[in-house]
């Protein structure tokens, strides 16, 4: 059975060039980047080259990059590291759990948090940000691109508001990095987190941009790695891979690969909507990253859809997986005002650099027939068809 993977917002395959670049750092070049001898110097140089590449991707200085274990650590480090008990934090209701639960935890330790709503397209209103500012507001954390809908938030406007109010601005750019060009100066953010495995580097590595001058408290205590901002021996193969993935992302933008990607995504989206009734794009009309579409198929159970498609070889996703692996309705779609049944009937398709037109066409053959079968077996749909 051919397998088609359209769940790249969950994780992406490591690109062959990335794998080739990182491979020597498991064996040949194994040194601890903090060691003074030849082996350490070799890996130190590799780490710093990677830092240059990531800095180039984000438009910052190399010294402003802190390597992390991934998006969750970057988000936690920024949020906990830039605030203290008594501070007020502004976040949106559609943030990733790495931000939401970090904020929830800080509420227990003496911070106040305001969770801003979004409109029906999944967009935060910058005026809401402005109005929610308080004298003790220390940090705004609003994501750049949403993981479930792909919707791009007005981060540049929010950056201006933060600068005027002299509060820190962190943006979770995990789902934006590698998909659209990022320039931390234009955004005007003080911190920005990215994750390797969402951009064709491996799982277990990420980076946090921290603007020079921002006072960041570390999460970990130990050696003076990463300019004392993140103790712990560097994950050299992962960091090297992230550097390579950043280079490839920059090359991709030069070659308009992002436009090709949105072309494929639109082919999928339009193809599905042309064939399936009672379906639509959640967040329709809002600016999005080029790889994501989130579509509702009324009268189906998203869980059954994901399982059915998986059994036919197509990997997509719905909602958020809880610890057992069961699916909970998406907090993002609920915050956008979707009814619970429509949120449960929504499927996320997310593309990666490896996906081909043939794969999209195979998916287009599978999705409508699966929706039709699920609706045929849905008691709610049968009732509706009979009564209408």
């Amino acid at each position: 059975m051919p397998r088609i993977y359209l769940d790249n917002n969950a994780s992406t395959p490591v690109l062959p060039e990335v794998l080739d670049t990182m491979r020597p750092y498991f064996g040949e070049h194994f040194g601890n980047a903090s060691s003074i001898h030849h082996h350490g110097q070799e890996t130190r140089a590799a780490v710093e080259r990677a830092r240059d590449s990531v800095a180039l991707l984000l438009g910052c200085r190399a010294s402003e990059i802190v390597f992390t274990s991934g998006g969750t650590e970057g988000d936690n480090l920024a949020i906990a590291g830039l605030t203290s008990p008594g501070d007020h934090i502004l976040a949106s209701r559609i943030e990733h759990h790495a931000v939401l639960y970090a904020c929830k935890h800080l509420e227990e330790t003496g911070c106040e948090v305001t969770y801003l709503p979004v409109d029906g397209r999944g967009l935060v209103d910058p005026d809401d940000v402005r109005l929610a500012l308080r004298p003790n507001t220390k940090l705004i954390s609003i994501m750049m691109a949403n993981n479930e809908t792909g919707v791009l938030q007005p981060v540049e406007e929010i950056g201006k508001i933060a600068a005027e109010a002299d509060v820190y601005f962190h943006t979770d750019a995990v789902q934006a990095a590698g998909k659209i060009p990022i320039d931390v100066k234009r955004i005007g953010c003080d911190a920005l987190s990215i994750s390797g495995h969402k951009m064709h580097a491996p799982q277990g590595v990420g980076a946090l941009y921290v603007r020079k001058g921002a006072r960041l408290q570390p999460l970990f205590y130990g050696g003076r790695h990463e300019r004392s901002r993140r103790a712990g021996t560097e994950n050299v193969p992962g960091i090297v891979a992230l550097g390579k993935a950043a280079e490839l992302a920059i090359q991709g933008f030069d070659r308009d690969e992002d436009k090709k990607m949105s072309g494929l995504r639109d082919r999928l989206e339009h193809g599905i909507l042309a064939q399936v009734e009672d379906a639509g794009v959640n967040s329709d009309g809002a600016p999005r990253v080029p790889n994501t579409t989130n579509i509702y198929f009324d009268h189906i159970e998203g869980e059954s859809m994901v399982i059915s498609l998986d059994l036919k070889g197509l990997a997509v996703s719905t909602g958020a997986a809880c610890s057992s692996g069961a699916i909970e309705p998406s907090h993002v779609l609920i915050a956008m005002g979707l009814r619970t049944d429509r949120a449960r009937a929504s499927i996320r398709f997310s593309l990666g650099k490896q996906n081909t037109e043939e794969e999209i066409d195979l998916a287009l053959a599978l999705v409508p027939e699966t929706v039709a079968r699920l609706r045929e077996l849905s008691p709610a749909y049968r009732k509706q068809t009979v009564s209408s």
């Binding site: 159970e301 399982i307 059915s308 610890s323 069961a326």
Partner: protein, 370 residues
């Protein structure tokens, strides 16, 4: 059994359902393992005297882990499906409401009727499976002469679960497999060992899956507190069978018919709960002999072996899970109500429990005792 059907196996992470998966796999069927996520075990943990740690129960992370490992060992696709909302609506809330009305509920039957053989069957069909196999100890057979699907008691009488399955419809039974119906528990464990299942020695689960430690009173308190509802005041009088008030009680949900401990009154002879009156919040107590009665009324009838009860029928009736079916006459009162008259008086007939009617090994049907 025809070969290579697609079967969904309800996998709880226990020995029984894991062995079912291994057996059907060995027979060459296409299997899809499904675990129902029904209740978040951490939800009430630490709440008002509830245990902090919950392990080794249905829907716990450990059980899902075990089920996933078995599926991986057998090389079958496996998914966890979330039915927490339905479970709370159709099982947990009625469970709480029944106790607060002075009845003693059976959540497992509700779960079978509304979740395992309803929702799970829908999911199974949607993902392309013809039927659902479970690890219940019961048998299901098609009877040509009657033109009906029959539910029958299993080979291992000590594990008989037909009492909890009386609510299954013909449609549900036609899509259900109970592969353990002809086996004893020791045989199941032996087979699990032979199939190389690491959990062959895992202990059986006994208590109600969502009530950790089996303390339903604490569960009700914690559940109501978490929902923001105050515990309704169901305190009232303790009265004797002759109507004499001999004390007070702190809420009818603390009692079940036949209960002896915790009555809070000291008398010369042992006293038992005879009856709980939800309407006037009275708990009637009396001596052991008052617990016996010859008849019961039951509603919400489900018939399996027969289409309807035209004539009174001689059956054996089981009035709780651990009760030896007793000979009785079953008569229809209306389309949804029956009266059961036992040959010998039965002890502690308890409203909220099921009366399940047997004809030998065959489950004729059942209804809820009123």
């Amino acid at each position: 059994m025809q070969n290579s059907r697609t079967i969904a196996v309800a996998m709880s992470g226990g020995v029984d359902s894991s062995t079912v998966a291994a057996m059907l796999r060995a027979e060459g069927h296409n299997l899809i393992g499904l675990t129902m996520q029904l209740w978040n075990q951490r939800r009430l943990a630490g709440h008002e005297g509830m245990p902090e740690q919950v392990t080794g129960r249905c829907c716990s992370i450990d059980d899902v882990y075990d089920a996933r490992r078995v599926a991986e060992h057998l090389g079958i696709p496996y998914y966890v499906v979330n039915h927490e909302e339905r479970f709370e609506r159709d099982v947990v809330r009625p469970f709480v409401a029944e106790y607060l009305s002075g009845r003693t509920p059976i959540p497992c039957s509700l779960c079978n009727n509304h979740l395992k053989f309803d929702q799970l069957l829908v999911v199974a069909q949607q993902i392309g499976a013809d039927c659902v196999a479970t690890g219940h100890y019961a048998r299901v057979e098609y009877d040509d002469a009657r033109g009906r699907w029959l539910l029958k008691r299993p080979a291992d009488r000590s594990k008989d679960q037909t009492y909890f399955l009386f609510g299954l419809t013909q449609e549900q039974l036609s899509r259900t497999l109970f592969p353990l119906g002809g086996m004893t528990k020791p045989e199941v464990r032996e087979l699990a060992r032979k199939q190389g299942l690491a959990l062959a020695e895992k202990p059986d689960s006994q208590e109600i899956c969502f009530v950790p430690g089996g303390d339903y009173k604490r569960f009700i308190d914690a559940y109501l507190a978490e929902s923001g509802d105050a515990l309704p005041d169901t305190a009232g009088e303790l009265v004797t069978t002759s109507g004499e008030v001999i004390g007070e009680h702190r809420g009818i949900h603390n009692f079940t018919v036949g209960q002896r401990k915790g009555l809070g009154v000291a008398t010369g002879s042992p006293l038992y709960v005879i009856q709980i009156s939800g309407a006037d919040k009275q708990v009637v107590v009396g001596s052991d002999e008052h617990l016996y009665s010859r008849a019961l009324h039951a509603r919400r009838v489900n018939l399996i072996a027969v289409e309807n009860l035209r004539e009174p029928m001689r059956v054996s009736v089981k009035i709780r899970h651990r009760h030896e079916p007793a000979p009785a006459l079953l008569e229809k009162v209306s389309d949804d109500e029956v009266i059961v008259t036992f040959d010998q008086p039965q002890r502690a007939i308890t409203p909220g429990q099921a009366a399940v009617f047997y004809d030998g090994d065959i489950v004729v049907g059942g209804a809820w005792i009123t």
